[in-house]
Symmetry: D2
Subunit: 383 residues, 4 copies
């Protein structure tokens, strides 16, 4: 078994999700490579030590530059706030490290371009953690489209609804809340939630041409955790946009943290000439499927419990038995498995930095459209 020596930078929510994936992947997947948890890096040494102990990291660093310098590290996993991705990734690329970067790739398109150039120049394997592609039901949606089950696509609609920032008493910024701080996050729901929706959409439905967007910040001022002062909220609390795809289909996208009753309701639906697909993160192990080719009187939306074996349902023959569901964390395990597999095959595991740049360009167009109040073209990513 070959070892992939990993250093993780950041120990928050995503640090746990990725570490869990590294630890479990070889129990379930037969692979040539296995992750070796070499180091964790965090500014707080105490927290890094505690994290290393819990997850089995061999060593601890408090400056990410030390990670880059160490020659016993093969791959760097970036789990820090968005505004730090570029600097770390570019340095890591220069040092010849593979990079697994949390999403969104960057603060904006121009920054993303630099990151893409860096990894491509260095020829290092690179991947962005848009994990929802590897939920089995979503992967199956991709396969159904590739098998031309849907025919010409007419409509795509996606939303990602949450309700955790409705209270005006919630502060902005600081540990666990940097997603509410525009300086750290770049944007609000657009980069945090819509980026997921956009990544999936580009993967399933191809490139986007143009968008018309609106954003809103419902709570105008919040206390900032770091300064203690009440300051203007700079992020978007909600964002909705219309889009036209290159394949001629029309789309609507929406995201908000003010949709009472929804915790993490990411849904998408695709309507094709022959068939339609619907998926919902709140019941992620199911795919809804409608096929017009079914006999007339028996047509109906099928609720497919995506838990079968025998290669029928993506990734599921690695797990339990039909009918027994897996959860959110498994999407990360699948992504690690595919990344490790890619080291053997030499075929990149998507989304690469370049793939993720395309999402960044859509986000840029969305934010620009909302600001200007006009339709905006989406910048093309060279291929």
């Amino acid at each position: 078994m070959k070892q992939l020596r990993i250093a993780i930078i950041g120990y928050g929510f995503m640090g746990r999700a990725h570490s869990n994936a590294y630890r479990k992947v070889n129990n379930f997947f037969d692979l040539e490579y296995e992750p070796f948890l070499k180091a964790v890096c965090a500014r707080s040494g105490d927290k890094a030590v505690a994290f290393a102990k819990r997850w089995g990291y061999e060593s601890v660093e408090t400056d990410w530059r030390r990670i880059i310098e160490r020659d016993d590290i093969d791959a760097v996993d970036i789990c820090t706030p968005n505004n730090t991705h570029a600097e770390i990734a570019i340095a890591a690329a220069k040092a010849g490290k593979m990079i697994l970067c949390e999403k969104p790739l960057s603060m904006d398109g121009p920054e993303g371009v630099k990151m893409v150039k860096a990894v491509e120049k260095a020829k290092v394997p690179n991947m962005v953690w848009y994990n929802y592609r590897r939920v089995p039901a979503v992967t199956m949606a991709k396969k159904l489209i590739e098998e031309v089950r849907l025919g010409k696509i007419f409509h795509y609609r996606a939303k990602f609804l949450q309700d955790w920032t409705i209270s005006p008493d919630l502060p902005q910024g600081g540990a666990g809340l940097w997603r509410l701080d525009a300086k750290a996050a770049g944007s609000g729901v657009t980069g945090d939630l819509l980026a997921h929706c956009i990544d999936t959409a580009l993967w399933l439905n191809g490139g986007m041409e143009s968008v018309s967007a609106m954003t809103e910040t419902f709570i105008k001022q919040r206390k900032h955790t770091l300064t203690g002062k009440v300051t203007k909220v700079e992020i978007d609390d909600a964002c909705a946009f219309l889009a036209r795809f290159k394949n001629g289909s029309l789309a609507t996208f929406e995201s908000t943290r003010y949709a009472r009753g929804h915790k993490a309701l990411y849904t998408f639906e695709i309507n094709g000439e022959h068939a339609s697909i619907f998926w919902d993160l709140h019941d992620l192990h199911r795919l809804q499927y409608f096929d017009h080719k079914d006999e007339g009187k028996l047509r109906g939306w099928r609720s497919i419990h995506v838990t079968d074996h025998g290669g029928e349902h993506p990734y599921m023959d690695k797990w339990w038995v039909p009918g027994l569901q897996i959860g959110y964390e498994h999407s990360f395990i699948h992504q690690v498995a595919d990344f490790l597999e890619s080291l053997s095959t030499g075929k990149p595991a998507g989304p690469t930095f370049r793939d993720a740049l395309e999402t960044q360009y859509v986000c840029d167009a969305v934010l620009s459209s909302a600001k200007k109040g006009s339709w905006q073209k989406v910048k093309a990513v060279g291929r």
Copy 2:
């Protein structure tokens, strides 16, 4: 257009449901016959007059014997409490009237036999209002079974759950509450609710061989509305039974008025070798269908919105457009349409009295089994 002159006896809930069906059927169905609302009969003259006015009955009677005697009446519709069905039906048959009788047919099997003999001797068209057979989704279930979609049947399970008698303050007996009075109703949930489940089951799955049942009366005493006294409750509040069908399938049946949260949840599910069916009265316009012959990875329960035209979905081409649902009352309209059609074709519209006698025999076996604590054979109905 030929007229069928109808007299209805009883003006309660079912009196309304039937009257509505008579009034609407020819607006939607093309038939040779149309109902003419000749008379309504009720002991209270005032109430009969009010009912006649509201629904357009031409005349009023306060003694059902007068209805039988009148020679301007073709058909008698019996909507009175269960303990009166036999006497009225037998008299009506002797007078040569067609009979549409509310369910259950009778207080028990022996009484039912007399009714069957009376209508068959008189050769009068006869039908019992087990209306759920004519919910389009249920009729379609019947068709799917006839088309041998399910293959060998392994399992049948049905339940009818309500929650309206949980309060100990609810009285028994009297207007609107005769269903709680064993003298008027014969039994509790067995004859009121399970009889529906049994009728559908016999229709869809054939004859039943034997049963093992249990019943319970949770509230032992209630004030009786008519006497004002607190007396023993004689009906069954809940009844569940196991059954074996002649086709080798196993079944469970359950009914109660103590299932908090369910208003009128009649559901049935049939599991066959190749396919399964599920239906639910709370969403009666849908049929759930699973077909093992579907391609493996795309198998799932289909939620069929039974509202299509073109003969695809039973009865639905008479109504609105696909996607627009009909309701409870339409099952009665369909039953009237089929009854009127049967007068033209000469082919009886089921369930006839003889069909309903079979349900009665199952109820007898169920109540006997519960009383004796042992399995009971179901008496056969000659054909």
Copy 3:
């Protein structure tokens, strides 16, 4: 009982739905007025006669001007294609007739203004058949909002999805297909389907400020039934728009006839500070409700079967018993009941022509936005 003598113009799908409502309303509602079906008008005398016979209309006309002239008509019900509404309604108003007009009110705002002026000058009761307001679950949504259950509204989202025009072989224009002919319909899904969504939204969420829309015609040419020639399709097959309401909420609206798998899926969801509501025409008897004030661990979307009595659920005490659902047609019966009630009380039954004009202004802004590719203000309706 006072009689309201009605003449109906048009005998298509809506002619049936309205006639059914007129015939049934007094069987279930206690009202001072009852409809008297005085006349039906259609260009084809034979069809009018057949319709009159089926539904019990006393007389037949083949020129709508004759209806206007007759002094034995109190109210005119306009069920003809959209391009004829204005002329008939204005003439009827001048003749002092009450008017019940099918939706949408008019071909566009300017035409609608003339209609509003005519009925208001003539002081005749007037109403537009946006029937979905009277689905009990939708009426209950209105009550919950009036009771301030939701608090500040953040989001509104509605869609109306169909799939019946995907085949390129479907012709445009002619009987039953005038909805595909821009000359008769004015627009495609915008006036046909989105108008319903907009009417409900304005009723539930107040006025709209501005919109950004896109439309598409997927099949560019179709054979025209009347001419036999293949001509350009002028209607919008799909339309989606972003909107901002006056109350500060953000909205998305979408409609299409190319959403495979959906027959008539009109859904809306409202997210408020404290509670959220979701409704779906495919299961119209249910309301989904989430209340953040529920105890934390027990919070969840409630599936309310809107069939209770005792005034709890709007209109439902007129129908059957809890748990037994009603259907699409009942929304029209409720609307007739409310209209008849309004004649007694003198309080108009909405939506009036003026109410419906507001919907027209939104449609105008939507179509203009789609054409120009820019945000458009919605014209204000004076009140």
Copy 4:
């Protein structure tokens, strides 16, 4: 951190589920103890070695007696076929090992009694892997009942439906198929699936008094994998029974491997005076809850996504963020966490062998009832 040195006997489906739990528990739970994977035992040395390598077991044995003899083992985990549980467990108890035994406890009640006596005499911690108690939604159901939310219980109904043995070509016996071999399994669905339903029911609803059951073997003969001969199938393919609980409630239970369309549909519903609960293994992260104390017009079944933090939803604060679901395997992790916790607190983690014996007595009564065709009392477990 104290180490619990574990030896696992058997490396099949459950061997994997348990090993995964041991490896993950300390990543997510803060506990005094951590499992140390000391040894795996299997008759096939090669398979044992491969399993040890994959899951990190330190050593390998091919005779379980060696495990018992080793003094570097604290706890034995029995994952072998049912007919071996007693011998291994009794020997382990005598050797002073803690025991975690797969369900069902034993082949029958008398054998179970011996096991209970052995562990209680040896005073070793003992537990049976009825893992569904630790699905968060199920644990929450238990809490709701303890909080007296439901009031008096009227009804309990459970079923466990599968469809994997419908094909007559499926052989019986041998690796992976010992569950179809009566000699290894003791019974069919009764011990395999109904035992789960019974364990949960006894936990949630208290003791059972009496049962009336029926069983069926649909495919009478199957080829036996080990002998290659077609022999009689001795197990029950399906089993249904009626039950009366000590608290006066009525129950129905059903299990089968012939319910086309259901992979592992374990559901239970409890109807109480004030509230009802429904749960479903196919969507295990949800609990359906109906509370009659809700305001009348807003009563409905709540679909609770059991993924909240802050102690609101059992176990969930150890995992991800609200809205992100966990899966089947987590029930085992929770059970290990509770077992490790019990070593610190000294309070046993249920179900103990004695708890599981009660389930065995119900199974005995069920099988006896089915054989004799009569109601059977359930033997009492002394406490």
